[in-house]
Structures are given as C-alpha cells and as structure tokens.
Symmetry: C2
C-alpha cells in the first residue's frame, strides 16, 4: 500500500523557493546587496510580482507602506492582474485604484474606515471581491495557514546596507507580516525612510528581508489616537464617572484596554480628579494595553499608571515616551517598541476589561460601527471585546463576574460598551435591527458584520445608567436590562417602569444616583485637562501635538 501512495507525492518540494529565486534573479542587475534604487521600484515590482499572486500590503489604521502602494498602482495591468490583496486596513485611495485598474481582484482585510463607502460601491460593481473581513490578529493568523503570501510590501523607518530594519516607535504589523513571508519563501520588500550605516537598534534582522528601497517620502502615519479634550461633552463626563464608580471601582479593574473615542478619553482625564477624590489611585487602572493616548498623560503624571504596552505609537508622543521608560516599552535607543500582535494578545488574555464606544446597538446588545452603505470592518475590537474562553488565570475583577458558585464554571472578562441613546443628528443609537444586517446581506456576506456580539458584552453604559448584563438570567431579562438604559429610543421605549425598578433593586441596572454619581458634578471642570495646551503642560512640554491639533 505504501508504494502505491508514494506515487502520488509531489514532483517537487521546493517550488516556492525555486519560484522566489527565479523572480529575484530578474532584479539582481539593479541591486546592491539588498538595496534597490528608488527609481527602479515599479520595474522591480513588475518582475517580482506575478498575476494572481497573493500580496500583503502593509497598511493599517496608522502607518502605511504608501510608496509601495503607489508604485504598485503604476505597474502594467496587462502584465500584473487579478492579485489577491491582503491588507489590514484599506485606508488610502490607491488601495482601491489597483482594483479599478484590474491589478488586483480579491481582497481580505480587517478595516476600511476612510474608504468604506468606496469598498461597498466597488463590490456592488463587481470590480472587487471580498474574501472575508477579519479582526487584525485573525488576518495575521491566516498568513500562517491558508493565506500564505507570495510577496509582502511593508515599511520601516530605516535600513542598513545588510537589510536590517529599524521599524521605530510604530512597529505595529511589520514583524508578523515579515515573519510569515520570510520563512515560507515569499519575497519581502521594504520601503524605508532612509538607508543608513548604523541603525539605532535592529527590530527585524536582515536575513528576513530580501529588498529594501528608500521611499520618495517618509511613510504616511496618522494621529488616530489623539482626542482633543475640548470636545469632551458633559454627557461623556457623566458616563465616565459611572464607569469609574460602577464598574472600575466595583469590580477592582486593574488592567485594561481603552478603545479610541471621547468616552474613554473622558475616563482617562477623570482619573486624576474624580478618581483621586474617591481614593482609587493604586487600586484601579494600573496596567494598560493601548496606543499612547495623549489623554492618558495626566493619569501617568499623577502616578496612576504602572505600565502601558502598545499596538503602535502616536504622532507627537515620541519625546514624552522616551522620557518615561518605566511606563512604556522602549528599546536601547530610547524609542517606543510597539507590536500589534503582542499587544492584541495582552488585550485579549491579560487584561481585566475592554471598554469601547459603539455607534449602534440592537435590543440583544449586538453592536456595530457599520452603518448603511459602508463596509467599515472590524479592526482589533472584537479580539479584545469578548471573553476569551482559553483564559485560566484569575484576577479579582475576573472572579467578580462569576455569578455561579459551581467550581467547574470560570470567571469572565469585562466587556463594556458605551453609547449615547441618541447619536448626533437625533438618530436613535438603539435600534430594532442593526444596519449591519442589511449591509451584510447586500454585500453577500455569510453572516452580518457584527462588531461585538451581545452574548460577549458584560456591561452597557449610557447617559441613563449601567446595565449589568452579565448578571441577567436568560435573554428576556437581558433585553429588559438593556431597555432600562436605552432612553426613549425604540429599544428603550419597551422598558416598563415596574420592571426597571425591580432590576435596579436587584443591582442588575444602576442609575447614576444608585452608585453615588451626582449628575450635577458632571461638567468639564472635572477634567484634568480641558485642552491640548493642558496636555502639553502636563507633559512638561514633551508632548508635541501635530499641527492640526494646535490652535494656540
């Protein structure tokens, strides 16, 4: 039987390596070691990429290999067509231009915020096919399993003549993309801002890299995690106070991830004032997994924060981080070391709580940031916004969410969603059916693009109060608890006064007065910083906000 089976084995076991060697031969005449001259980039891509290849393009919610994406948009579509593009975030116009030109056909991605309308349109026009929409880490995971790439296009700050890379403070996705490619005979092409003799530190070894090319301009990067305290509203401050008292203090939340948004910025700015007055410093909010939010500066300076591990960096925070190595993860050169895979791991498995704002929620507490006509995707939130059933260590907060004394049942991670009952423009945020359901149907998705599933949410906080969903028994009680804090939205109108009173009595719903939060105290004077200038002052001048945030 054995010999019969053996006949069927592949004729070669080195196809990927041979293919790579063949392609690399075609560009050797331009190369000096691993260095490709900038003006040969388009020609080199035409030699290194082959039609129908699977390509990873580094483009996440912050940094972008934009020189390489612009170069890819210039290749001859007759030669290179029907590529399968894998990209964390469809963020730049040329990410979609390559589909319009026929260079690429299929895309697997995680997020498409700025380009989400155009993605939906191109999909409808049949110009683009979607493999699937992922969270960041599951997209990386598939690079090792069933989405193994042929060529990857990434970016770094600097390279040396041996191809060693300095990725700088914004490491983000680069290490995992390069590792997946370098060790399975894909071609690794890196745009760098500068080729230098000596790197500040080595982040990725040259033996993992095939080609480095100096870009025409430094790679693009956006200050996505900066929230100007000027725009924080009294309602957000009220919500923040409820979170601090009714959730962080109550469950002793010591380690956490804060999503992007003004709700969490408000919480960060309330710690040194409201939190301090409650005597909570050293008891809650000690360890963070998040990008270096400028609004966290006052809490750091006040001694609240013991450590911050980051997915990426934030524009303007470099000098502040450099001066605070006890708090941030930094290299020998003094600059930040971030790493999206590892920070997502921390945010999934090591923290007590995830908290994020959402735009729309249905009566079962399913939520989504997808709204009509937009295919925005997921990013990283679902990975942190669920209870990881593979967790086995306990913490006070995790154990506090255990509602059953049975020793064969585990504790639970806090997954907190905040939203105002009505969005700007008077649209209710609580709805009968999420827009995501219709969007998913129209896009031909096998299931609707839900950001956070209701079953994974432990707490919902609105300006009305907190629903402690983890304490509810059965779907009907969960719906009633949610309705109790949903105001006069369609979901909220289903609440009955006597049921809500009973839920408050049982501690399943809390209004501000139930947890000692005074609505009248919720004003901007309670914020530790009320402007960008205040944040700069708190940092002792080390934080340098980007121009668009400077109004003084």
């Amino acid at each position: 039987m054995m010999s019969e089976q053996r006949l069927q084995r592949a004729s070669s076991w080195t196809r990927r390596r041979d293919e790579k060697e063949g392609r690399m031969q075609a560009v050797m005449r331009w190369m000096s070691g691993p260095v490709l001259p900038t003006d040969k980039t388009v020609e080199a891509l035409e030699a290194l990429v082959v039609a129908e290849d699977r390509i990873v393009l580094e483009g996440d919610n912050q940094k972008q290999a934009d020189f390489l994406s612009r170069s890819l948009a210039k290749v001859n579509p007759k030669k290179i067509h029907d590529l399968h593009l894998i990209i964390s975030s469809i963020s730049r116009p040329e990410h979609l231009t390559i589909f319009e030109l026929g260079i690429a056909k299929k895309v697997d991605f995680a997020f498409a915020g700025p380009q989400s309308l155009r993605v939906a349109q191109l999909l409808e026009d049949g110009v683009l096919e979607i493999g699937a929409i992922h969270t960041y880490v599951e997209l990386y995971a598939r690079l090792l399993v069933d989405l193994i790439p042929n060529v990857v296009l990434v970016c770094a700050e600097q390279a040396d003549q041996e191809g060693n890379l300095f990725t700088g403070p914004n490491t983000e996705d680069t290490p995992v993309i390069v590792e997946a490619a370098a060790f399975h005979n894909a071609i690794v092409i890196v745009q760098v801002n500068k080729i230098v003799d000596t790197l500040p530190r080595v982040d990725i070894p040259g033996s993992w890299v095939d080609i480095v090319v100096e870009a025409d301009n430094p790679y693009a990067v956006e200050p996505l995690f900066t929230r100007d305290p000027r725009h924080i509203t009294d309602l957000q401050i009220l919500t923040g106070m409820m979170v601090i008292r009714g959730i962080y203090e109550r469950h002793q939340v010591q380690s956490l991830n804060h999503g992007i948004g003004f709700d969490t910025a408000a919480i960060e700015l309330l710690l040194p004032t409201y939190g301090e007055a409650l005597g909570l410093r050293g008891k809650i909010c000690k360890h963070f997994a998040l990008n270096p939010h400028p609004t966290l500066i006052p809490a750091i300076e006040s001694g609240w924060v013991e450590s911050v591990h980051s997915f990426g960096s934030e524009v303007g925070m470099d000098e502040y981080i450099r001066a605070r190595p006890d708090i941030f993860f930094t290299g020998r050169d003094g600059s930040l070391r971030s790493n999206r895979v590892l920070c997502q791991l921390a945010g999934q498995y090591a923290v007590d709580a995830f908290i994020g704002a959402t735009l729309q929620m249905d009566g079962d507490a399913n939520s989504s940031t997808v709204t009509t006509g937009r295919l925005a995707g997921f990013g990283g939130a679902p990975n942190m916004g669920h209870d990881p059933h593979g967790r086995r260590h306990s913490s006070p907060a995790w154990l506090d969410l255990k509602t059953n004394a049975d020793p064969t049942l585990p504790g639970r991670k806090l997954v907190v969603q905040t939203l105002e009952t009505f969005a700007k423009g008077g649209e209710p945020a609580f709805v009968e059916t999420l827009d995501a359901v219709e969007v998913g149907k129209k896009a031909g998705m096998p299931i609707a693009p839900i950001m956070i599933y209701g079953q994974d949410v432990s707490h919902v906080v609105t300006e009305e109060g907190i629903a402690y969903l983890y304490r509810t028994e059965g779907i009907e009680e969960r719906r009633r608890a949610l309705a109790a804090v949903a105001g006069i939205s369609p979901v909220g109108l289903k609440a009955k006064a006597n049921e809500t009173a009973e839920l408050r009595r049982r501690g399943i719903v809390a209004f501000p007065e139930d947890i000692g939060v005074q609505r009248l105290q919720a004003t901007r004077s309670l914020l530790a910083a009320r402007s960008m200038e205040d944040l700069v002052a708190w940092s002792g001048g080390l934080y340098q906000p980007p121009a668009k945030f400077r109004s003084w």
Copy 2:
C-alpha cells in the same frame, strides 16, 4: 488642580533602566562584549539577580534553558531568595529544587507534567506559592501587563560576538520572552550551545540581548510529539475512522490542530489509506498548525498536506523538514522556523478545528488531564480548544456549525474531544465529578483546573460513537447526547435506549454504522505506517528517530 496633582508624580521615570545599568556594571569586568565566560555564570547570576525579583526561566514542554536553571540552583540562598519564578513548564528537578532551597518562593506557570506530583506536595508543605496556572499565551501576555520581569533566562542554539541569536528549529517561546524583557529594561541572559563567528541566520537581534554564555552542554530537548505507530490500537483506529467520516468529511475540515496522542496519530496515519479510499485528498486536512509529528509524514508524502506551521520542532525531523520547504516554514539556512505565540494564534483563530484526547470527562463534557494529587496545568490546549468569539471570517466548516439562521449569530469553531470510555486499568473516563474539582479545592485555586469547558466542546468521540454536542438544545439534551456515547461508565449508564435512538434519528448522536464506518475494518492493517521503520521508509530515510524509538 493640575499643579496639585503633579506633586504626586514619581520622582524618577527611569528606575528600571538605572537599576539594570547598576546590575550590569557589576559583571562588566568578566564580559567581552555580550559574552560571559561559562565559569562565571553562578557569580554573574548572584550579581544580576536580586532577592524578590521576578524571573522568567525558559522551560517549556520541549526545550530547556537547563544550564541556566542548574546555575540558578547554585546561587547563595542567603543572598538571593524569594524569587517569583515565571516558567511555561515546570519540567526539570532543579525547577523545584530552587524552591526547596528558598531561592524562589512564588511561581506562575502553564504546565507541570513531569513534576506535577512534586508541585502538589511542595504546595501542601508551604514551600511554594502558586500565582496562577495559565495557558502558554496568557502567561506570555502577562509579561507585557502585570508580570513584567526583572531578569529572563533563555536558550538558543548559537550566538555571535555581537549577541545576535540563532534559535534554530526549536524557536518556541524565546522571541516573546526576550521581547517582553528587552523592551522594558529587564536583563536578557541567554545560554547558547556555541558561540560562533557567523550565524546560519539571525532569529533575535543582538540589540535585544544583554548576556550570552556558552553552556556546559547543549540545551535539553525532548521528543514529545513522537508516537510509535506500533502502539496504536484497533479502538484508536475505529475512533480515527469516525473522526474522518463523521467530522472532517461531514464538515469539510480543511485546517486544523491535532493534539499530542495516539488518537490523532491514528487519524494522521489513516489519511493516506482510509481517507484516500473515500476520495477526500485535497478536500480535507490541508493546513495544519502543529509540531512536526513524525506520524504526519505519510500524509505529507501522499500529497495531502499543503502547509504546516509549528510551535516548535521535533527531535529527528530536522533533515526531513529541510527537504520539504513547500510544506514547513523554514529560514534561508534551510532549517525550521517555529514560533509558539504565532502558532497558537494560528491554532486559535485561523483553523477550522481543534482535536485532542482527554483523560477524564464529566457529564457536562467538562474535561481535564488533572488527576488526583497532580497539578499538571494546561499548556496550550485551552487556547485552541475553545471557540474564539473574536473570529469574524467564515469557512465552510465554521459555517456548518451555525445552527440558527439568525444573521446576527456567528458560526463556530470545531472543538473535538476524543476519549475511550474506560482508561487503562479499568477506571471509567466518564465520571460524575472530575478529579480536578478536588485537586483545585485542595490547592486553594479559586476555580477548578478544567482543561476544556463543556460549553466549548462541539463534538465528543468515543469508541461508541460521536456526540454532536453543538446541535443539542439545552443542558439536558447535551447530557443525554454525551451519555449515549459514554458506554457503561457512570455517565453512560444514565443513557436510555429510547432517548438514544431518538438522538441518532435526529443526527445528534452517530454510531459507527450510522456514518458508514465498518467496525470490522478498524484494524492496524489500515494504518499507512505500522512502525517507526515504516515512518523512516516513508521519509526516504530523512527522518531520524531518537535512539529510544529505534528498535530495529
């Protein structure tokens, strides 16, 4: 208010860096660049480690920084005591000797297979305190959050004079431990088998490493993933046939993780024979996340397997892997690149199915490998043996487990547990209460050490049949389905013939005959390899089994 708060800020923000510089100064007289002479190791540890430090010692289920652990056991306990040890796997005698000597006091770990009896004993004697027992990845995640180390002790194959490391085929935990330490001013000490002029490839840059020391002997490594086909029983073959027909074929499982064990070894050896006869090649089992199991060789050689990403390597498989770069992840030097964090990510998020054998299961399908008196821990199984709620992409298998048409409900990962209804020695494997409950209580654990929770299990397979637990509605029906395949164990005796017949009719339980599996065909002649010699022959002589597996 701002100035008032600022008074409370820390007096220094560089304590960790200053502390590290101070300690490093004390060993400078012995150093040549990053190289420490072997005979100065114990003295250096006494200078670099301080009482009550948090120390990570690389020791997982395979490779061991055993020169460093033996050296740590020789330091003066009057000087260095009450260390907090963080270790993936408590595997070697000296890992516990350091507790007996008072050098260490507290431990956070993931697995303690070989030393599990002694761990339980030392805990009872008050010699050792347990922080928590983790899965591998959550332990690493905490290195970035609330278990930030002071010193880490790891191992690699080779280093050069600049401290660059070649970790070789067994990369495993090294990169994440070093990254967590190097970027938060902990001291990184690496034992290497050899210091050389030029490395085969660089796996970890020298700028992440403080000290390299040539060990007295190459680091210890165990062939943990080798199963001699000679010991595969007919019952295991029957179970394997049921898995192939009733689970892999039925749900179109294309990507998966196989646990260690003879059950999964049997499946691997049935693919080229039984699977081939069913015409399943190219349809199932194409992508694996697992260590290079020797029993996978016949499936690879028969063209079943497209890719394998690995946590670590396996003794004796190096030359075979080197010759199959299309299948395995290999570096420019040709040897395997493994990475436990990334493979666990693949096994959690990118695969259709996890399948593993267990020793004991209760009537609710909770299972554990913990048995009386032993604190074995978890390792990596729980991370892969649950449905990750952060997954958003679909696959045919994942969608096939969706039992409700509601578009706001997701699909589900397959989590398959296999066990024989009675273990060797006639002990029932299905029990009223897991031994883990009593062990957890005795060890003072806040919850019982459950390996895989019943709520996370989609399928249970015994020699009696398959329980499709994901299709059951409610806990009572789940219990009945499980009882139907639990034979004459205490759990199985609760089954009622009429209920079982109804469950079979509804496709919630399947006996072999229900899925076309012929019991009489389940004999060893169906295995593609029936001995280690057969595996070597399949590999064309490239696989070189360790001596203890060579009987010819």
